[in-house]
């Protein structure tokens, strides 16, 4: 053998000793040299230098000691060097081994492909067809077939062993009690769950472990529902469950096995339910159902009514999971976030039964339908309860209908109409049967809102539907809906709406609506208010006058239209079950009420005190039964007339017109005629006594007069009843007063009666003629001395209320103007009640009649007439004498006929007279005397002298009085007066007439009014005696 190769020498990291020594020597020398150089410097003292020198020396020496050691070691250095070489080589070798091992493993792995057979066509086709090649067996020996005898024997032995084992088994799970031993296995059949077979490895009785040999489920999913059918497991799952089952068997015995398999079956069942749900969700229930399947935690949460909006906490779900107590599937129902336990629905009901032919087990859809049905039932009940909580007598309005398996709530809208609201089982949404648009809107609103508001919304719906219904009926019957009227709540409270049915009063504003209607022909501001409530069947009706002031509506007046037997029989059905005819009737009634109200208001405005009653009021009946006015009631207006709702107003006579000679209240009846659109007012009154004269044109005791087309009066003196009728056309009378005509007549009657009362009491006066506007009476001796007082129409020119007329032959004619003033003044007196219609009074001066008429009033006027009649006669006579004289004078002047000569001087009559009237109480007779002057200086001259005789009407008291008033006859200058006058004044001449003498008062004389006529004639004659004759 050759020598092995030399070891390679390693020289890395190795230094020759000589180098070390040489370098350090040189280094030391260098150090020394440096030090000695530095020693020369004087910067350091000697000690320091010494120290540095010593330090250096010591350092050098130490290092050289080390070098010495090194030298000493160096003796072994050659061996060590060799050893290093060996070491390095060995490491190299080691690496080579490692490389070899690695190479071997590489070869091994690279040889893997060598195992594969060569590619061939057969294998290729096989791969193509099956996906993998069936490699040829690796030379396994074929087994000998078992003989049937052996098989049977083994099985029998196994059966015996298993039976024994099972019999010896102390404790079996209850579900495993039912087993059978056959074919060398124990078969457990757990109903509706699974079937499992176990066997033992050999026939030893004691300790040989059981193992699972077969397992299959007893149920399957078919057509969306679970049915009973055996479902074998796929091989992979089977081997897996086999492993687990065997482990459980080994560890916990049959209990463990049962637990495992039961859990497995239950979980699978749950999975199948999940599959059912998945199928349902793409079918009919699409969108309304959602579910969560949690395989790990073994539960399915079904959310039904998924589209129904509700807060997340209030979801309604059905949770299916494993009951911890029974270890079986069961469900929990969570309704609106609350667990419902008393639903009475058991899972078993849906778990099929033995008798069921189709072997159906859990039908989830049935369960869900059952629960949703129950849910909707509960919800409907809840809504009903909510409504019942809110209103009294809810059962009158709503009821629950459970017919047809579907629970629904039925609203009675009116007598014939109902609305049915129910919940859709599929979606949980509310809907109305046969919906109108309003119902659809309501249902949408309910569905999109909170459930708790449903009841309120349904009540609102009821309100709305009533409004619609009533609104359409009203508009069909001619009513016009007025939307703009919005009453503030303060005004609404004036209507005194009763809402006792509402248990929660704050809902009133939401559940009560007031609608306003009017009729085309109605005056603005008239309304029919209809109060419709969502909480009761009652409908309230009012007629009202409503005004808008700056957008604020306010009720001026309102009256409830009560409907019922005691009120408006024709409206009896109106309150709850209105129909078209009653709504038409309503217009008549409400218009009547409004008109009556207007009448009432007008009368009250004029100060009348009124009590208004309905015709059917028992007091009305009572009143008319005791009154003769009853026979004056027009046809169709009778007490106790069921259909009649006309009002009767009792007007206190003292407050309106104070009709004298009338007792009791005036009765005003109002009758509406809807056909002619007119309103007839009849005012009835009773008189205390007859008038003093017959009416002109009266037939018998009954007097009738038509004032205008629509107004008439009838006075029955026999019955002592008067009635005034006035017809007003409602449509044409929008702004005028309704009662103006009526009151005009009444006032005339009042005035007339007042007048008659004044005149009738006086025996000296004779009534000649009476009509409503005129009274003619005679105060003198014949018809010429009469006067007619005429009640003026209100538009009399000078505003005076009464005019007079007299025959032309009346001696008072000369003082006509003064009489007019006097009459006007007399009417100012309160005794003569002045109706306000004629409110203006004469503004004429009273300057000439200081206080003569005062409280006497018209009475004073009549007294004046009587007092001044003799005077007037005298004046008339004297005046006529003047006319005669002038006639004579003219005749003479023209014809120069001196047969009846007036005495003249130079053609001028010797005596002329004139009558002057200064006011109503002062008169003057003026005589103008033409004669030859008696004065010497003026002899032969003709002079004219005036002599005046004044007549004054003087009162001894403050006022005119037939007994106390006197005429004072005086003359300012009696120089040229006839002697009679002078003597009369002086008292020497006595003048007597009718037993009454003249009282001489020096400057004049006082005379009673009866005596003034002859006295004045006497004075006149005296003047003519003295100056008018040729003496």
């Amino acid at each position: 053998m050759d020598n092995p190769p030399e070891l390679p020498h390693v020289e890395v990291n190795v230094t020759p000793l000589s180098d070390i020594l040489a370098r350090y020597s040189q280094h030391s020398f260098q150090e020394l040299q440096t030090l000695i150089h530095t020693l020369q410097s004087k910067a350091k003292n000697d000690n320091a230098k010494k120290k540095a020198f010593l330090d250096l020396l010591v350092g050098i020496r130490q290092n050289f000691v080390r070098l010495y050691v090194l030298c000493k070691w160096a003796r072994a250095s050659k061996d060590i060097g060799k050893l290093i070489d060996v070491f390095v080589w060995l490491r190299g070798q080691n690496q080579k081994y490692a490389d070899s091992i690695f190479e071997l493993s590489t070869i091994k792995s690279s040889l893997m492909s060598a195992k594969l057979p060569d590619p061939d066509l057969t294998t290729a086709i096989e791969v193509l067809m099956t996906g993998r090649p069936q490699l040829p067996t690796h030379g396994l020996l074929s087994k000998k077939p078992l003989s049937p005898y052996l098989i049977l024997k083994t099985l029998r032995n196994l059966n015996v062993s298993l039976s024994t084992r099972m019999a010896l088994e102390d404790d079996l799970p209850p579900a495993f009690q039912n087993y059978k031993v056959e074919d060398g296995r124990v078969v457990f059949h757990v109903h509706k769950s699974f079937q499992a077979s176990i066997a033992i490895a050999d026939d030893s009785v004691d300790d040989s472990p059981f193992f699972l040999v077969d397992f299959e489920f007893s149920f399957a999913l078919k057509d969306g529902s679970l049915i009973q059918a055996s479902t074998p497991l796929p091989a992979v799952t089977h081997s897996k469950i086999e492993k687990l089952a065997n482990a459980a068997l080994a560890k916990e015995g049959l209990f463990g096995l049962y637990d495992l398999l039961h859990r497995f079956a239950t979980t699978f069942k749950l999975y199948l339910l999940h599959r059912q749900l998945v199928a349902m969700r793409i079918g009919l229930w699409k969108g309304n159902l959602s579910h969560t399947y949690n395989a790990e935690k073994c539960f399915v949460v079904i959310k039904y009514w998924a589209k129904k909006p509700s807060s997340s906490k209030q979801k309604s779900t059905i949770e299916i999971g494993i009951n911890k107590q029974t270890n079986d599937l069961s469900f929990r129902w969570v309704k609106d976030g609350k667990l419902i336990t008393d639903h009475g629905i058991s899972f078993d009901e849906f778990d099929g039964d033995e008798d069921n032919d189709d072997g159906e087990m859990i039908n989830l859809e049935r369960l869900i339908r059952r629960i949703t049905k129950r849910h909707s039932e509960l919800n409907i009940q809840q809504i009903y309860d909510d409504i019942a909580d809110r209103i009294e007598d809810a059962e009158k309005l709503v009821s629950i209908n459970r017919e047809g398996g579907n629970c629904s709530i039925v609203f009675n809208l009116n007598a014939t109409k109902t609305a049915t609201y129910s919940l859709d089982a599929l979606s949980g949404k509310g809907y109305f049967h046969d919906p109108t648009p309003l119902m659809t809107d309501t249902a949408n609103s309910i569905n999109s809102g909170e459930f708790s508001e449903s009841s309120l919304k349904l009540l609102k719906f009821r309100l709305e539907s009533q409004i619609q219904e009533l609104g359409s009926m009203l508009s069909a019957t001619g009513w016009i809906n007025v939307d703009v009227v919005k009453l503030p709540s303060a005004e609404v409270s004036k209507l005194n709406i009763s809402y006792a049915e509402l248990k929660e009063p704050h809902l009133f504003s939401q559940l009560y609506s007031i609608r306003f209607f009017r009729r085309r022909e109605w005056t603005a501001g008239w309304f029919l208010c209809v109060g419709i409530s969502g909480f009761s069947r009652q409908v309230n009706w009012w007629c009202a006058r409503i005004k808008s002031n700056l957008g604020q509506w306010s009720i001026n007046w309102t009256e409830s239209i009560k409907c019922g037997q005691n009120q408006h029989a024709s409206l009896y059905r109106l309150e709850q079950d209105y129909d078209y005819s009653s709504l038409v009737e309503l217009s008549r009634i409400s218009a009547a009420k409004l008109l009556c109200h207007l009448i009432e208001e007008e009368l009250i405005d004029k100060g009348a005190k009124i009590v208004t009653l309905d015709f059917r009021h028992p007091n009305v009946d009572k009143f008319f039964n005791n009154s003769k006015l009853k026979s004056y009631l027009p046809e169709g207006l009778q007490p106790k007339n069921e259909d009649d709702n006309s009002p009767v107003m009792f007007i206190d006579n003292n407050t309106l017109s104070q009709v004298p000679n009338c007792w009791g209240d005036l009765v005003l009846l109002v009758k509406m005629s809807s056909e002619t659109r007119t309103m007839e007012m009849i005012l009835l009154g009773e008189l205390k006594q007859r008038f003093y004269a017959p009416f002109s044109g009266a037939s018998g005791d009954v007097f009738k007069q038509d004032f205008s087309e629509n107004t008439s009066i009838e006075v029955n003196q026999k019955e002592l009843v008067f009635s005034i009728k006035s017809k007003v056309c409602v449509e044409n009378n929008r702004s005028l007063s309704l009662t103006a005509d009526l009151l005009t007549v009444l006032n005339k009657l009042t005035a007339l009666i007042t007048l008659l009362k004044l005149v009738g009491n006086d025996q000296t006066i004779k009534l000649l003629d009476i009509s409503l506007s005129e009274v003619t009476f005679q105060y003198g001796k014949d018809a010429s001395e009469s006067i007619s007082l005429i009640l003026a129409n209100k538009n009399a020119e000078d505003g005076s209320r009464m005019l007079f007329d007299m025959p032309n032959s009346n001696p008072h004619q000369f003082a006509r103007d003064y009489l007019r003033i006097l009459l006007a003044e007399s009417l100012k007196v309160p005794q003569f009640v002045v109706p306000r219609v004629y409110g203006s009074s004469s503004a004429m001066s009273m300057a000439n009649m200081p206080g003569i008429i005062s409280p006497g009033g018209l009475n004073g006027f009549i007294t004046y007439l009587k007092l001044t009649l003799p005077l007037s006669r005298a004046i008339q006579e004297i005046t006529s004498k003047k006319a005669e004289f002038l006639k004579l004078f003219a005749k003479k002047a023209s014809l120069t006929d001196d047969s009846t000569p007036p005495i003249t001087i130079n053609g001028i009559p010797c005596l002329m007279h004139d009558v002057f009237c200064y006011g109503s109480s002062r008169f003057r007779l003026e005589y103008i005397i033409t004669r030859k002057s008696e004065d010497q200086k003026k002899s032969g001259k003709i002079e004219r002298v005036k002599v005046a005789v004044d007549v004054d009407l003087r009162n001894r008291g403050s006022f005119l009085d037939a007994n106390k008033s006197l005429f004072y006859v005086s003359s300012p200058d009696t120089t040229h007066a006839p002697t009679f006058l002078k003597e009369l004044f002086a008292g020497t001449e006595k003048f007597e007439h009718d037993g009454k003498s003249v009282v001489a008062l020096q400057k004049g004389a006082a005379v009673a009014y009866q005596s003034i006529h002859p006295l004045l004639l006497k004075i006149h004659d005296a003047f003519y005696e003295k100056y008018g004759t040729d003496s």
Binding site: Q26, L54, V86
Partner: protein, 142 residues
């Protein structure tokens, strides 16, 4: 003293070097004493100079001992000495390591030999046509 141990042979280069080093160390001690006791007199100065020169001379001698080149000193030993540790410890440890490595490798070599034989036999068994090659390898490697 470090040089207590008598130098075994002063004839070899190593022995000479050892001796020179011992002398130098001696001289350095003397020089140190002199420096310590240096008074500044001329005599002292002369003595000092003399000694310094002596040191320098010795240093020169040591630096020129070229015959020591064959003694290689590994770095590890140098570090040992520098750290004041005994370089013989290093020697001992190193010898130990080499021995172990040697044994390990020996085991490996034997194992591989057996494997080679087994593998060879198997190859021959499976692939009889390779028998010659296997035998050739065996002879070449055993």
């Amino acid at each position: 003293m470090t040089t207590d141990t008598p130098i075994e042979d002063k004839t070899t280069s190593l022995g000479r070097a050892q001796d020179e080093l011992a002398n130098l160390i001696e001289t350095l001690i003397h020089l140190g004493v002199q420096v310590h006791d240096f008074t500044g007199t001329n005599e002292a100065k002369a003595g000092l100079a003399n000694n310094i020169n002596k040191v320098i001379g010795q240093l020169q001698e040591i630096s020129t001992s070229h015959d020591l080149k064959e003694y290689s000193i590994p770095m590890e030993v140098l570090n040992y000495v520098e750290d004041g540790r005994n370089p013989d410890v290093y020697t001992r440890e190193f010898v130990e390591v080499v021995r172990k490595v040697n044994q390990f490798l020996n085991g490996k070599a034997v194992g591989f030999g057996r494997f080679r034989d087994v593998l060879g036999d198997k190859i021959i068994q499976e692939f009889p046509e390779l028998t010659d090659s296997v035998h050739d390898i065996k002879t070449r490697t055993s």
